[in-house]
Symmetry: C2
Subunit: 436 residues, 2 copies
């Protein structure tokens, strides 16, 4: 008999069905045993006899039965299948579960972060935890769809790279045959090379940072949503694009993740038509005026600054998203384009949302000579950038792009306290699946 999915049961009242899934919950009422069965489409109530007494939570079962309407007063309005139940005539156990280390049937999984991660294959099955990765899937696919709609081509960036490209300390070395290689800190150089091929390109790829500190917002391995665009008319084309992509992600979540957002009582960031844009110096003046903290002249925003400026943008502009632009040259990588009006500054930006950086990007240098000179100025050897430099030797248009941290956006959208919750199998200083 063909399998019926739980979400299909309301259309099959009076029909014999076969359902498969996990025992999500069990409630005994004398000789009647109620089982909540969960499958990939949701939960359905099974009414079983005493033969269900052998079933434990997380057992995998297949049942035969008949779909019936629940009595008016037994309707569960919180469940899409809440008007029906299945009177079970036969139960097959496909796999038994061992005793669970904690109660997984509560509406909110009540475990600390280490337990959440130590038991990942189990905790990921909790509807509220699972929801995080449904939202993440939509974030990634909305990024992809928005860019495809704008004529961007997706490419596969390499992971193993020959040399350290963006600051020396934070890389993982790889024993590559009898040589040494590294894990890419970002697909930056490759997405720039690809501008010479496709003009507009993007990649969904892993990036690796050997951050020797433990924060709630960094991972050693994360999903980077990277794009790059050639033939900029003006560098602000990039801010327009970043806004468009962000709004594309919001749209995707709105259309596909109502239920998941509701589980977290989460709402999308508010904004008014466009996200406000401030130069770093202006942002620092605002912080001084608003809080009295004098960070004017600092070369970057601290986490506290990011929180303050986001608070101000929400209050002043009704926007939980805000662009900060024109970071100083000293704090940006060698490839960032200088501001033609002030060579101490760059045509760079961060997009902040709810107190944290979501997106970072900018225009790049496209002139071969300037790039070679900058590589030297930053203390690197142009020989280590031979392949990359070829792109510029043989003609590159003005271009730029940005990167979005998929886990960051997931975390900030759902209001999670720790970025580890937004990574299926988070890697950090102390953990690669297990404790190290």
């Amino acid at each position: 008999m063909e399998r019926t999915l739980s979400e299909e049961t309301p259309e099959k009242i009076g029909k014999k069905v076969c359902l498969s899934g996990w025992v999500y919950n069990r409630r005994d009422h004398g000789k009647l045993i109620f089982i909540d069965l969960i499958d990939r489409t949701g939960i359905i109530q099974l009414v079983c006899g005493e033969d269900a007494a052998v079933l434990n939570v997380q057992d995998v079962i297949r049942v035969n039965g008949e779909v019936t309407e629940r009595g008016e007063k037994n309707i569960n309005p919180h469940l899409p299948t809440g008007k029906v139940e299945v009177k079970v005539s036969k139960i097959d156990v496909l796999a038994h579960s061992q005793e669970l280390p904690f109660d997984i049937t509560k509406e909110k999984l009540d475990v600390e972060l280490p337990t959440l991660l130590d038991y990942r294959p189990l905790t990921l099955r909790h509807p509220k935890v699972k929801a995080i990765f449904k939202v993440q899937e939509v974030i990634v696919s909305s990024f992809r769809q928005t860019l495809k709609g704008l004529d961007f081509t997706e490419f596969q960036a390499p992971t193993i790279v020959p040399s350290v490209t963006e600051g020396g300390a934070q890389v993982f070395p790889v024993e590559y045959y009898d040589k040494k290689a590294f894990l890419g800190q970002s697909p930056q150089l490759y997405k720039q090379i690809m501008v010479g091929v496709f003009e507009r390109d993007f990649t969904v790829t892993k990036a690796f940072r050997a951050e020797p500190s433990e924060t709630t917002r960094h991972l050693s391995e994360y999903v980077s949503l990277d794009c790059e665009m050639g033939f900029l008319e003006d560098w602000t084309d990039l801010l327009d694009l970043a806004e468009k992509v962000t709004l594309g992600i919001f749209k995707g979540i709105k259309e596909n993740c109502q239920e998941e957002m509701a589980l977290y009582s989460a709402t999308l960031p508010v904004y008014k038509t466009h996200f406000p844009r401030l130069k770093l110096q202006e942002a620092q003046e605002v912080i001084f005026k608003e809080t009295g903290r004098d960070v004017r002249g600092d070369p970057d925003l601290s986490p506290e600054d990011e929180k303050d400026i986001c608070e101000w943008a929400k209050k002043k502009h009704g926007s939980e998203m805000v662009f900060i632009t024109h970071f100083p040259t000293s704090k940006r990588p060698f490839y960032v384009h200088p501001d033609p009006d002030d060579s101490e500054l760059t045509l760079s930006f961060d997009l902040l949302g709810r107190g944290l950086e979501w997106v970072t990007g900018g225009q790049r240098i496209h002139e071969y000579d300037k790039l070679v000179s900058n590589i030297k100025k930053w203390g690197n050897d142009p020989k280590d950038f031979e392949l990359y430099l070829q792109a510029f030797k043989y003609g590159m248009p003005p271009h730029g792009g940005f990167a979005i941290g998929a886990e960051r956006v997931t975390m900030q959208t759902l209001g999670l306290a720790n970025i580890r919750e937004a990574s299926l199998f988070p890697r950090d200083m102390k953990r690669v699946d297990h404790h190290l």
Copy 2:
């Protein structure tokens, strides 16, 4: 003035336009200089005066001019824009190219493989080389779309893994802080874990094999298209799914890559309704009968066997795709489900196409005790699989899946001689961008 793309020019006859792109080719005819301008949508002929004499191939330019119809006898039928040209009034050089190391304007780029890779940022710009990665994009997105249409959820598999899971020799160690970790040989264990979460899942991810040999069909880093499905009714559900996904890829290529396929005079593999299915033993009998080579009793197919059986399938069944099933236990990893009819064999398959393996997969063991026992039998320590084993401890349905090598499919579809041509930045024993 807003940019016009080359493909838009036929609709703008008589209009003033601004175009940007690369000088793809230059032909001097006395005082007239013809430039083929290439942008992301294709090539358009520019008619320039003597000021174009400074232009070299791969210079990046922006031009102003007027779209005009070509005279009847000057129409280029090979070009979508072949009925028009642009009379240029103004040229801006956005970036000059240095002298090229070889002629990039020929229809077929006439360089050896090492040169093709040594100058990757340049050779990727050649229309015929670029086409490979347009096809690859479609292969990946068709895989994704087909599975999404079947209720599969995409997830991001980790790259850094704690231990060696599928045979010890061929892994790359990573210096992970002060510990040792590895690059994943496949997302196998994670996609199985995710069956417990989403029932049906897939991932597009990097896999790494430290193959100490140089062949034309292996890469050290490749793109693995992996999927896994729970609640199998029968293990042949997997063969049906692999066929469906393969046909989804063919459909994607057919609908989106006509031009790219034409550049390679390539056609999609032929087949009749379904791909034939043979047990390994049957395939070996066929080889013996057809060629006299006696490989009966061999535990696996050699590259020569794969060629022979594909040739036979084409001749006998009119199919360039053929499933080989039931490989012996000794040649498959610990997690592969034994054949209930013969414990020496497994419920496993390879899908061969045009003489090479495209897909490999099978049903997995879903019973905790059997899996623990197999891990030990294969000489591994269950402690190294603690996280993975949790999925089985807490109830897993019968499940299975498969993996497709994106570069393999690209190579076999276009008829490329070496898999390195199907990887943007191929990594092997001797190369990570540069020679090692």
